[in-house]
Symmetry: C3
Amino acid sequence: MSKATIVLFSGDLDKALAAFVIASGAAASGWDVTVFFTFWGINVVRDDNKKALNKKEFVEKMFGSMMPNGADKLKLSKMNMGGMGTSMMKKRMKVKNVKSLREMIKDAKELDVKFLVCDMSMDIMGLKKEEFIDEVDEIVGVGTYLKESKDANLTLFI
Amino acid sequence: MSKATIVLFSGDLDKALAAFVIASGAAASGWDVTVFFTFWGINVVRDDNKKALNKKEFVEKMFGSMMPNGADKLKLSKMNMGGMGTSMMKKRMKVKNVKSLREMIKDAKELDVKFLVCDMSMDIMGLKKEEFIDEVDEIVGVGTYLKESKDANLTLFI
Amino acid sequence: MSKATIVLFSGDLDKALAAFVIASGAAASGWDVTVFFTFWGINVVRDDNKKALNKKEFVEKMFGSMMPNGADKLKLSKMNMGGMGTSMMKKRMKVKNVKSLREMIKDAKELDVKFLVCDMSMDIMGLKKEEFIDEVDEIVGVGTYLKESKDANLTLFI
């Protein structure tokens, strides 16, 4: 069985889309796929309907509010143009029958893509376990990512 | 035989240069190399002398005109400074006898690097087959990229 | 024995941190790890206490002074906000007992991570061998990186 591991470091819409197109494409062809969400990439799996139960420090709240809160809030890495480019891109995707990022995330889960969130990033950014979407399987350290990558055919950092 | 697949997602000059230095370096050492141009990266293989024969919608024309049209128009991802940094970098490359990106692309083709363009990106960006440089071998889906990556020694996302 | 090669193309603090967390994580688990510093990434291994002995041309001096001089000068790729975001991130890392990039670099060396600097990038940027930190093992071409990557389990471009 083929295997792929993807580090999703970026919290940009375009890069997240690329990650999920590759992840789901591989999973649909029977590959074993793991996405490791780290640094800005953990914003991709934040759930804007969930709130942390634990109290947060001031800086944590600030970080949390400045970073995009989930898949629908991400912006393009280029040509965002105050949001106009991002919304144009979303419209083009609809016109061309390309699914939204949120739908891609659901599809990926149905195809058994594994969702791992980096514990160190979560901690530094001041996010809590309770704030992620249900698709997230586990909060893990880099060691778990490395173990998964050991026998992978395809390893990407996005 | 060793094998490498490179996703060129970025349309920045510096990242495209890195991709082609690695691609041609590997091909020159006898590796089988595939570059998969996706998202902003498809701008790297646009031909500014070619025009799409099919009519384009307004939004497609707009997208097309806002994105860099081919290898000579790309900018640095950092220190572009209104174009000054990019032109300084190009001068430095000449002084140091490093080939231009356009020349690197030609060299890569002569070394049998395979050029694949992502069909979904082409579609979303509103570009047409007729607008790419002759070095492009095929317009394909992510499945083709995955098949090529399955037995690759080196897999990069740039 | 497992093996990883990482191209560190970026000179951003966040990406350099990610590279070293993965590099040291792997090396600590007994992997053979090589980091190939190229393009903006060579700024990560500049030593701000060292000066080039050879005379530099005007453009080389300019490039050198505009790019970040070493691990302590790097900025976040996002949310830098005139340096405020970067210093907030550094504080968060301290609070959460995450080591600084400079300490991570030392740790990586102690774990026998190999530090290779790209000769072409050094040349274009106008940097000299004498300006790098002691952790750097060798100045090499892309061919050396490729040889290392041939039998690697994990290959990343950061």
